[in-house]
């Protein structure tokens, strides 16, 4: 058979998918590294600074701040339109003119207050915004920090700085703050924010405490986050009377707060983002980004009434340095904001407020801090373009020398310097923004297109696999060549126009062009076989007619893909997938019955006489097969139902109890329960091992003396024992055996590592020597003598007397025999009895694969909590049931007389297989959210932690995608199982005429190498197609719903998990296919050794 075309085609397809995912994710998820340094009081003005003589070395925090206290009223989704007041508007909409207090204050006390539009950076979701206006940075979806598992802000931020200088921060409102700043508040009154329908709980909770707190002296900074307006927007939209009520309420709140303010207190009223006309937010349209900010203080805040130089719009990050300098704390380390100049006095008029910095001083402090951050960041990450970085640096050094010279010489400040400092800060911000805070729609679109074409290509390859294999490989050369050329062309073009190469666009061009070339060629080559053999013609045109789409085998994946577009279904994904699997499984017997294949046909003596062909299967066989099918369906349904009890819970699912099996044994308090759980886990582990060996023995695969058999005999049980011991050791309570603690520690270290090593060794042995065939020469002649005398070995069905060989699968290898018959003349001399009996030849392909999966399963189980052993057992049972259902239905279908020599696996089992992978992703306690990743897996066998990041990351990946890996590696079994379970005389009866009673099983694959290859390719591409379609729809969901409320909570994590799941699955699928090809090579070698003549 042809190995190279299969592998290279699959590799190419996977690569194209990867490029698509890479491009999209690159445009959608922007990654920023977190700088975990904090500013301190000492470092703000110092480094290299030449202080004016006579001034004491500045400790920033000791200087009397401009304001002692501040009140931050955050009104979620306070759009700027809500804040404007237009007295000429006689018939205001419900959201207009409802906050007259702002306008009144601004006009009546112009030097005390201002109202600005306050522009947020996308993503405009509340959590990202809180991060934004406390750290002064531009948060992206993935802020790569030290700690994935917690949502706490690790970067330097205002709240932290307030705490550092001893300001008491009192917080009330949205409980998101409590998660972001755990234990940072002096006093905190969080209220639940999750229920969007609830307009009043949070606001009323705040109002109960706000005024009493303000009157007291127990605070320095008061943060109150109102959610009512936002929730009202989500529920009713802005254009609704409820919004008018809510805004009027807020108007009253602001009035009361202003009345209670003291002279040393600053009031900031602001929205964290805006909203669209439908009340949503999250995206980047101006309606969503433009909130309002209102500054007020009873003492004069601004030097005078608004002038021409007032900013039109205040970016949200600018609040951070402004507040920091007004309250006398250092600017947070990673802030890229710019101080709001109007609140600082122009130089020379410092008289107004005590300790107030002048505009130039404030700008200088700000610029130094930003420059320091830029240097640190560019040392850590390379995502800021180098040339703009160097430009910024030189600009700063020029400005700094100018400023220092000015200070040294005591010159009056030039407005030009202030302007250029401002320009510098603006350009830094713009650079960072360009790098971090923007979706890249072009890249997203390119990724989407590549993925869509990849899915289409996969589908076409699966339909045309036979043609492609016949063409033998040169189908792939032109696309690859074109891809290479296109990639190089784009690279050259980029060098020519931009001066540097952006790898992603080269990859995109390569992938897209190769896909198009492939599709174009496939279109042409499809036309050819249609002309040649007419039977393909009617099939091809009806690919995607609505009639075919309504077939459950395609309808179910379609529903699955559609379900990825709805947040509710993603949240309930575990159950939804189980529902779909169950539906599709039920469909199999119903469909069989519809075709009249489930029950033996009634013998109608009148009618059946003439035109009906006699059934190939006797009624009893049919009944037996249907019985098997229904029994397996029962097993499948049972394991489906039981698997529901292993699910974990998302935080969005209100009334949900996570499975008790998910917590590790060592956490259980009740000893009896612990023992019960342990026994259950060990029993299921034992059953896993036993079932595997039992299955292998049943097909006679445990008789030979090869590496694989050695693995099955010794390594598999030994690993299980290691695993059971490891569980026992790790479950031991630490204080109960004090004198054995060293031993326990050693056990925790050694046992899992021993298991890892054994598994590695086992898999290596399987790879090295995968044959599980035992040859028994009939006439006691040594096996070497075979080569001369026997010209034929024939299979006879018989059961060996030896107990060990208790299921004998004698094999015949028809084609070779025929070739021998032709070549050798002395065939008449030899009698008809078979000279060689080969045990286990019938499952020569599937046995190593099964064993490999079994070993892999144990290895993955090692990374899970102990209780998951039950779930893994269910997984094995479900796999077996699926395989048997597939095999039985294939056998029953062969009744129809549509038997042909190809071994195509229909869509239904492939769809079931891939859905089962997702189902067990959930049933092994995983969820597509970041907090639910089982980090404990990284410490199995490494209780003291790691030094690198590669090993723990791969362990966690293996843990997370365990079911994806198992199902993908085992995928080729779908091809083999109908042959393994074939009923004697059903397919054989037609395939090999006179020898009808022989069971040829998987040897049939060797008889038709071309069909074998094409079926393998088809199976793999079908599986890839279904996985790819899921990734595609999840990508679509992220792209279409990028303004959805839940995008960062549901869709983006789902996309990440789906994409990484696809990566892992496709690699495992390649491993599985490669293993099959390896076995094929070994079988070829084995036959060569057996019959050297035939190899000539």
């Amino acid at each position: 058979m042809k190995k190279l075309p299969v592998l290279s085609l699959l590799l190419w397809l996977c690569a194209v998918y990867f490029v698509g995912i890479y491009l999209f994710v690159g445009g959608f998820l922007l990654v920023r590294l977190e700088v975990n340094r904090t500013s301190t009081c000492g470092d703000v003005l110092q480094p290299g600074d030449v202080m004016q003589p006579g001034e004491e070395p500045a400790d920033f925090c000791r200087v009397q701040p401009r304001f002692r206290r501040a009140v931050l009223l955050i009104i979620d989704a306070l759009k700027i339109d809500f804040a404007w007041f237009d007295p000429n508007n006689t018939s205001p909409r419900p959201y207009e003119n409802k906050l007259p207090v702002l306008e009144e204050t601004v006009t009546s006390r112009p030097s005390h207050s201002r109202l600005y539009p306050f522009r947020a950076d996308p993503p405009t979701t509340t959590m990202q915004r809180i991060k934004g206006f406390t750290t002064g940075s531009l948060p992206t979806f993935v802020d790569v920090g030290n700690n994935f598992a917690s949502s706490a802000i690790l970067e330097d931020n205002l709240i932290h700085q307030f705490g550092q200088v001893g300001k008491r921060v009192v917080f009330m409102g949205d409980d998101t703050w409590e998660n972001l700043f755990p234990k940072k508040f002096h006093r905190s009154l969080p209220f639940p924010s999750f229920n969007v329908k609830d307009l009043h709980t949070v606001d009323n909770g705040i109002l109960q405490h706000l005024y009493s707190t303000m009157v007291g002296e127990d605070w320095d900074v008061l943060v109150a986050h109102f959610l009512g307006v936002d929730h009202c927007g989500h529920r009713f939209g802005p254009d609704h009377p409820a919004m008018a009520d809510k805004l009027t309420q807020m108007d009253g709140v602001i009035r009361s707060v202003i009345d209670r303010l003291q002279n040393d207190t600053l009031l900031v009223v602001m929205g964290d983002h805006g909203m669209t006309d439908t009340g949503d937010h999250g995206g980047e349209s101006q309606k969503e980004t433009d909130a309002a900010i209102f500054l007020y203080s009873p003492s004069p805040l601004f030097p005078g009434p608004p002038t021409q130089s007032e900013p039109d719009v205040v970016p949200q990050t600018d609040l951070v340095p402004t507040l920091a300098l007004l309250l006398g704390v250092p600017i947070p380390y990673s802030s890229v904001g710019q101080v709001l100049l109007p609140v600082f006095s122009p130089h020379g008029q410092t008289g107004g407020a005590v300790g107030g910095l002048s505009q130039l001083e404030a700008l200088w402090i700000n610029a130094k801090q930003v420059n320091r951050f830029l240097e640190t960041y560019s040392g850590m990450a390379k995502d800021i373009p180098a040339e703009s970085l160097s430009q910024l640096k030189s600009e700063f050094s020029r400005l700094s020398s100018e400023y220092l010279a000015m200070v040294r010489e005591g010159r009056p400040p030039s407005p030009r310097l202030a302007a250029s400092l401002q320009a510098y800060l603006t350009s830094v911000r713009a650079t960072c923004r360009a790098t971090w805070a923007r979706f890249n729609p072009l890249k997203m679109a390119a990724g989407l297109a590549i993925l869509a074409f990849a899915c289409l290509t996969c589908f076409i390859v699966s339909e045309l696999s036979l043609v492609l294999i016949r063409e033998s490989g040169h189908g792939l050369k032109p696309p690859v060549r074109v891809a290479f050329i296109a990639g190089v062309c784009v690279a050259i073009g980029q060098i020519g126009t931009q001066g540097y190469v952006e790898a992603s666009w080269c990859l995109a061009a390569a992938a897209l062009s190769s896909e198009l070339v492939f599709l174009w060629r496939a279109r042409r080559s499809r036309a050819v076989p249609e002309e040649k053999n007419g039977f393909k013609a009617p099939k091809s045109p009806s690919w995607l007619t609505p009639r075919r789409l309504l077939l459950p085998s395609l309808l179910v994946p379609l529903l699955r893909c559609a379900s990825l577009l709805s947040d509710s279904y993603v949240i309930a994904e575990g159950r939804a997938v189980t529902f779909l699997v169950f539906s599709l499984a039920l469909y199999i017997p119903i469909h069989l019955n519809w075709d009249g294949l489930l029950l033996p046909p009634i013998h109608d003596p009148l009618k059946a006489a003439g035109f009906l062909p006699s059934p190939a299967l006797s009624p009893s066989t049919v009944r037996k097969e249907s019985g098997t099918l229904l029994a397996c369906l029962g097993v499948l349904v049972g394991s489906l139902y039981l698997s529901l009890s292993f699910h974990a819970c998302r935080e969005e699912q209100g009334s949900c109890q996570p499975s008790p099996f998910l917590s590790p044994l060592s956490r259980l308090q009740d000893n009896q329960l612990k023992n019960l759980h342990y026994v259950l886990s060990v029993v299921s582990l034992g059953l896993w091992t036993y079932l595997l060996k039992r299955c292998l023995r049943h097909y006679g695969n445990l008789n030979a003396s090869s590496g694989a058999v050695f693995t099955a005999h010794w390594i598999l049980p030994l690993t299980s024992v290691c695993l059971a011991l490891h569980w026992a050791v790790s479950a031991t309570p630490e204080d109960s055996f004090r004198n054995l603690s060293e031993l326990i520690g050693l056990g925790q270290l050694v046992l899992p590592r021993a298991a890892f090593c054994l598994l590695g060794l086992g898999m290596f042995l399987i790879w090295l020597d995968p044959l599980t065939v035992f040859i028994k020469p009939k006439d006691k002649t040594p096996a070497r003598g075979q080569s001369q005398t026997p010209s034929r070995y024939r299979a006879s069905t018989g059961i060996s007397t030896q107990a060990e060989l208790h299921h004998l699968i004698p094999q015949i290898y028809q084609r070779m025999r025929r070739s021998l018959d032709d070549d050798e003349q002395f065939m008449g001399d030899v009698d008809n009895s078979p000279a060689v009996k080969a045990y286990g030849l019938g499952t020569v392909y599937s046995a190593p694969l099964m064993l490999f999966c079994g070993m892999l399963g144990i290895g993955l189980l090692l990374l899970h909590p102990e209780g998951m052993a039950l779930s893994f057992l269910l997984l094995l049972l479900e796999m077996g049931a699926l395989l048997h259902i597939h095999a039985s239905s294939t056998t029953l279908r062969s009744l129809q007389g549509t038997f042909s020599a190809d071994f195509n696996v229909p869509w239904t089992p492939v769809v079931l297989w891939s859905l089962a992978a997702t189902q067990f992703f959930h049933a092994t306690g995983h969820l597509p959210t970041f907090p639910s990743i089982q980090w404990g897996a990284a410490f199995v066998g490494f209780p003291d932690g790691h030094t690198g990041t590669l090993l723990p990351a791969s362990l966690v990946t293996l843990n997370t995608f365990a079911s994806h890996i198992l199902f993908s590696v085992a995928c080729p079994l779908l091809l083999f199982w109908p042959l393994v379970c074939e009923v004697r005389g059903s397919r054989g009866g037609r395939a090999c005429g006179d020898e009808g009673e022989d069971a040829v099983m998987e040897m049939r694959l060797r008889e038709h190498p071309q069909q074998f290859t094409s079926a393998l390719l088809q199976l793999a591409t079908r599986y890839l197609f279904i996985l790819g379609a899921q990734v595609f729809s999840s990508v679509c969901a992220a792209a279409i719903l990028r303004r959805h409320l839940m995008v960062w909570k549901v869709f983006a994590p789902k996309l990440m998990f789906e994409a990484s799941g696809f990566l892992v699955s496709s690699v495992s699928l390649l491993i599985g296919v490669a293993l099959v090809l390896r076995v094929d090579v070994a079988v070829g070698g084995w036959f060569k050794r057996l019959i050297p003549d035939a190899s000539r």
Binding site: N593, W594, G596, L599
Partner: protein, 219 residues
Amino acid sequence: MWDHEIRAMASTHAILAASVFMATVLPAAAVPGFSVYGTHLLWLYSVSGAVTAVSVAIFWLLGITPPAKKHTVGYKLSRLFRSCLYFFLSCLFFHTVVVLYGAPLIESALETFSLSVLLTSLTTLRCLCVLGPNVQAWIRVFSRHGAMSVWDTCLQITVACTLVGAWVGAFPIPLDWDRPWQAWPVSCSLGATIGFLTGLVAAPAWIHFHRKQLTYKCK
């Protein structure tokens, strides 16, 4: 001949649909506070009861029910008894299937069982009426060449429509719309009823338009 049967079928179905309608409307007049969502179980049982009574009566009157082989009272009684047993067993079967589909096992078991009663009265009961208590025949009807008469074809269509309706009815349950009809088992029973009504309309129409292609083996 064809037209006659189709007309009979259409009028039967009209009566059945009317009975579903009456079962919804009449209790609303009789019972205070009756509504499809609020007192869902009551509605459900009233519909199942109405459909059961009406279809038994109609099919008996029309004489579609396969004639008893023996005319002894004992045999008829045993037939009746078997029918009731099958009815109950089918309720249990539907209950199991619905639970396996993901309905809660213990809590709201009553609701689940009521749904299975509805499903039984919409599907199994029709099988009982048309084919008699003979599971083998039921299974055989649901195959491509299994229909032996117009009524069998009609049975296929209505049963399939009802079950698909109930299946589709499960889709809105996970959505976060907070509507009263999303509560278990309202959407499923509504789906089943709507599917049943669709089937009642679709069956005569389909048979009418395919009457040229339909050929039946003699019984």
